[in-house]
Symmetry: C2
Subunit: 329 residues, 2 copies
Amino acid sequence: MTFRYNNVYINATSTVAGPYEQKGPLKNYYDATYDDFYINMDTFEQAESKMIEDSVDILLSKIGKTKFDIDLFLSGDLLNQIASSSYAASRLGIPFMGVYNACATSVEGLIIGANMVENKQIKNCICAVSSHNNAAEKQFRYPVEYGGPKPKTATFTTTGSASAYLSSNKEQIKVDSSTVGSVVDLGIKDVYHMGAVMAPAAADTIFKHLRDTKREIGYYDLILTGDLGVYGRDILKEYMKTEYGIELKNYNDTACMIYDREKQPVYAGGSGPACAPLVTYSYILNKMKKKEYHRILLVATGALHSPTMVNQKLSIPAIAHAISLEVVE
Amino acid sequence: MTFRYNNVYINATSTVAGPYEQKGPLKNYYDATYDDFYINMDTFEQAESKMIEDSVDILLSKIGKTKFDIDLFLSGDLLNQIASSSYAASRLGIPFMGVYNACATSVEGLIIGANMVENKQIKNCICAVSSHNNAAEKQFRYPVEYGGPKPKTATFTTTGSASAYLSSNKEQIKVDSSTVGSVVDLGIKDVYHMGAVMAPAAADTIFKHLRDTKREIGYYDLILTGDLGVYGRDILKEYMKTEYGIELKNYNDTACMIYDREKQPVYAGGSGPACAPLVTYSYILNKMKKKEYHRILLVATGALHSPTMVNQKLSIPAIAHAISLEVVE
């Protein structure tokens, strides 16, 4: 399902990031970073929720508005019951809709928000996501204190929150179109190889986006997937070529950009709902504003991984949502 | 945030329900019921996901369409990572957006879908939810096999799935307007008294809906909250009167309608995302089609309860979303 927009802009974004991101190659692009995983809160989960609040506070100050000026808050995260988002929404008090498509949540929120802004159902919205490495490890695998080793195909959940302000005020970054993905499940059960789980979903969504918009892959200066990691990235390239006959040019994956894999113990790269927007809302939009990129397609990828279902020997479904951003000339 | 619609109809609904609902007062209104909690699946969680599929299959047959005719599937549920919905979406293959606002998820999905149908961004969508008593108890509290006693203010999670087909084809049930709620948290930490947790959120949303639509409470033949239960229902009535000066007339709560509390061991009544739509999509829409009700306001209430956050001594935030349905004369 592909939507076109004539009337939606990303007027501002905000990114806050954790201690590993703070030492990564994009460290100078975030609005704020934290030196530890607790950020003065009692628990990792409360820290994650606090990051959303901090990100939204920074965003509101950038646009010179208060929470009372915002029509809708769309947010989701990896915690069970998207608790980080719910508790942040509680303190913000903006009309709230919780969304969840794992690490594709950021673009899911953008699509719902953009659709409502396009037809003036809302005048503006804030779309947020978060993830927290230690909170996610504890919930999905084991507490990091256990020190369990992982295979090299594992990814490292990013710690941070990113938010975007959408409205119809014409500014430099236009939301051009979006594609809602379908769930794809090729039968993979390996929770340490999410790149392989998600690559087919990314391929499916990229293919449908190009088909629906009647565009060639070269239309975009950059195709950017969310968190496939170095192995998933290669799988996607191979898979797109063999299954769809499409050669992925001008392609990168935010999981491969957010850390320095040579120096940081992050396995195949970053992951988590915050990964794609942390990179896109900081480094990539900066490049777009300098007109180094004119048109990008952000494809956030989500492994709809449920530990309960995986323990029951089911495979892991995946989804990818795409959003096309353009620089207004 | 209140939306008005001129172009959105609920053309069909479908309800499938579990063994307790099958013995309740609305037993003759469901499309299908199951005699046990496993419904031929290996686990409760897989049974919950299967119920969504069954509900959608019945819905598709009612409207004479296949999954290929549907533009968007919006679904959410109580399982961690909304796994029931994700796995059902995987088998359905319809473009999917996962939503989560606990037991307010049904109306959240309807609002997102209605907003997109209103402006012809999509031609149609299916909005589904599910809940499963044993799966929810296991995840949020203790496995039911432990036989733990509960206080009388506890509610009994409904087992079932409900789905609705929305399009702009003019039929008898029109979606008139909707109101997205904000999160309300009055500091309650009692996980066995969700009615008290959610009543203030319901009051806030009802008040804002009436204010935004410039309507009096008497405009509606029926105001229907989701799952407050008998104690929460009384709290809401009292709270609306004292805090907002509004006397709730023509009011009921689906939690108080779905079971026979005299004969069934359901404490204060039903709950779960399926509760409100199981009652509304079967019994209430039936009454609307017979013109016994002309205008109803369905206010789905959600306790954004996270066991992790409650174990950390945080209070439970709540939300309520409202949707107004009208019979086309």
